[in-house]
């Protein structure tokens, strides 16, 4: 397997995630699509680490940091979503039209 195979898979994963983030009405769906985008970026980092800079593991370490940030983002995003759901009783993105209400 050459490097480009992994890059094509990661590009496809990124584009699927982007498509989901652009088209889902459900905010939880948008958050899931963003997780897919994070995973595409991680796959790219690990693939470049393996094929081009195989003497060190900097790509793997940065991937670990991305995982930590993504977990923090998911936790805060979902908590915000629950707070919005309690106040507005909806999770559809087009219904979020109040800053204070």
């Amino acid at each position: 397997m050459s490097l480009s195979h992994y890059l094509v898979v990661s590009a496809a994963l990124f584009l699927i995630g982007l498509f989901g983030a652009l088209t889902r009405r459900n905010t939880i769906g948008i958050l899931m699509s963003i997780e897919l985008i994070f995973n595409a970026a991680n796959l790219n980092l690990v693939a470049f680490n393996r094929y081009l800079h195989f003497d060190a593991l900097h790509g793997n370490v940065i991937t670990l940091f991305v995982m930590g940030i993504a977990a923090a983002e998911a936790v805060v995003g979902l908590a915000l979503l629950m707070a919005i759901y309690r106040n507005l009783n909806t999770i559809y993105a087009e219904d979020f039209n109040l800053l204070k209400g």
Partner: protein
């Protein structure tokens, strides 16, 4: 053998990812998210990143995907199952993705013939050494971020004002 592993893992990952963005029932797409993350973990293993394989399963499949499942079940309504889950701009989104894919293809094409030169070897020890030497400061910062995220999540999900809850 390597080809079989790579193509089957890629197929699982991409089909599950398509399920995540197209399924009508959000609960099903959350389950598909778990499958897609599992497929990415398999690709990490195929790339020889054994520690990241374990980390992906522990953090994403059993952490983030389960959290998303909980929120789907807490914030869902019966009527969601019959409502349209995508907005009407999806042809535009397909066009945007196609254009970006051509851009990506221009970037990917030069790497078509790059083979790997080394055998994968266990990486956990080297990652631990890097985390405590070159990346010591980011390592401490991420613990700060995780604490901040935890406090923020508790604050947002507590519900009601503090005055109401006080006895």
């Amino acid at each position: 053998m390597e080809q079989i592993v790579f193509y089957s893992l890629s197929a699982v990952t991409l089909i599950a990812a398509l399920g995540v963005v197209t399924m009508r029932n959000v609960l099903h797409s959350a389950l598909m998210l778990g499958v897609a993350l599992m497929g990415v973990a398999g690709l990490f293993a195929a790339l020889g990143a054994d520690f990241l394989f374990a980390g992906q399963i522990v953090i994403y499949v059993t952490g983030v995907a389960v959290l998303v499942l909980f929120v789907v079940m807490l914030a869902g309504r019966e009527s969601d199952l019959h409502a349209r889950q995508t907005n009407e701009k999806w042809p535009l989104a397909v066009a945007i993705c196609a254009v970006i894919f051509f851009g990506f293809w221009r970037c990917i094409a030069p790497y078509a013939g790059t083979p790997t030169r080394t055998q994968p070897e266990p990486s956990t020890r080297a990652i631990g050494k890097l985390l405590l030497s070159d990346y010591a400061l980011p390592f401490e910062l991420i613990s700060l971020i995780l604490i901040a995220a935890m406090i923020g999540a508790i604050l947002f999900s507590r519900g009601g004002s503090a005055a109401e809850d006080a006895p």
